[in-house]
């Protein structure tokens, strides 16, 4: 869902560079989470996910569980699950919005702050979309786009880190943990587990990136 077209204003001072494989892995995982949280997977996506295998690591095991869940679910099952989780009658079991997790209400200050941050990055919603930007799928799409350079060029880690630490980290792990434990979920529990672990990995990895200060000195 969500997001965005690039701004051209600041694209000239960005440098094109090869994106390392481990960074691309992050982008793919963000894209996958975005796709699965924006809408239920179709049969083709379920089939592809069913072929994933994982090693003995915690994330590997989460991938394996995701694959098992995907192989066991039909597109109709997944669609019903998605509906119960995120749409529901009145509302779904979960409200995957940053503002809701941080304040208890939709459309509060965290959304306004996120909009400012996205504007600063040159990321804007396409006009026909009315969904608030603090939906988890939107945020994952922005992260993937920053890594891959969908908004001009691959964004420096410090820029990614700022968005992650201010607008994702404060609530996303809690959301994914709730998804993992959701009453109406089956396939999506595995999505929650992958998401929760990935947010933890991102948190650790960003702690290993040079600070803004170091980055400024470098440039």
């Amino acid at each position: 869902m969500s997001v965005a077209s690039a701004s051209v204003a600041d694209s000239t001072d960005r440098v094109t560079r090869e994106i390392p494989e481990e960074e691309l892995f992050r982008a793919r995982l963000y894209s996958l989470l975005s796709r699965l949280l924006a809408a239920a997977p179709d049969a083709a996506l379920l089939a592809a996910l069913g072929r994933i295998s994982g090693d003995a690591s915690e994330l590997g095991q989460a991938f394996a569980a995701l694959a098992r869940g995907a192989a066991a679910a039909s597109a109709a099952d997944a669609a019903a699950e998605y509906h119960d989780l995120f749409i529901g009658i009145g509302r779904g079991e979960l409200l995957p919005y940053g503002s809701y997790y941080l304040t208890g209400f939709l459309h509060e200050k965290p959304l306004a702050e996120l909009r400012d941050a996205l504007a600063g990055l040159g990321v804007v919603r396409v006009p026909e979309v009315k969904e608030p930007e603090d939906h988890i799928a939107a945020l994952c799409e922005v992260m993937a786009g920053l890594i891959e350079g969908a908004f001009g060029d691959s964004a420096p880690l410090t820029v990614q880190r700022r968005l992650f630490e201010r607008h994702i980290a404060p609530w996303a792990a809690r959301f994914f943990a709730e998804l993992e434990a959701a009453k109406t979920a089956e396939f999506y529990r595995a999505v929650g587990r992958v998401g929760r672990l990935f947010i933890g990995i991102e948190t650790i990895a960003f702690a290993m990136t040079p600070s803004d200060e170091l980055d400024r000195r470098a440039t």
């Binding site: 965005a4 690039a6 179709d42 996910l49 779904g92 026909e128 969904e131």
Partner: protein, 65 residues
């Protein structure tokens, strides 16, 4: 880049590599699973556009009442 920054960057790469390689089979399938089928599922959508999703429609129904 300062020496400290370089060390940190190398540490980060190692950390992420371990994960990427650890879930190597998973990572490879992510490329196919994450990108291709979802795009194929919505061929009419612009590449960088918001897709109107079920919950988008629902949200605005809810907001109206």
């Amino acid at each position: 880049m300062s020496e400290q920054a370089e060390r940190l960057t190398a540490k980060r790469r190692e950390f992420l590599k371990l994960l990427g390689m650890g879930g190597a089979a998973g990572a490879a399938a992510l490329a196919a699973g994450g990108a291709a089928p979802s795009e194929a599922a919505a061929p009419a959508q612009p590449e960088t556009g918001y897709r109107e999703t079920a919950h988008v429609r629902k949200f605005y129904e809810t907001a109206r009442f």
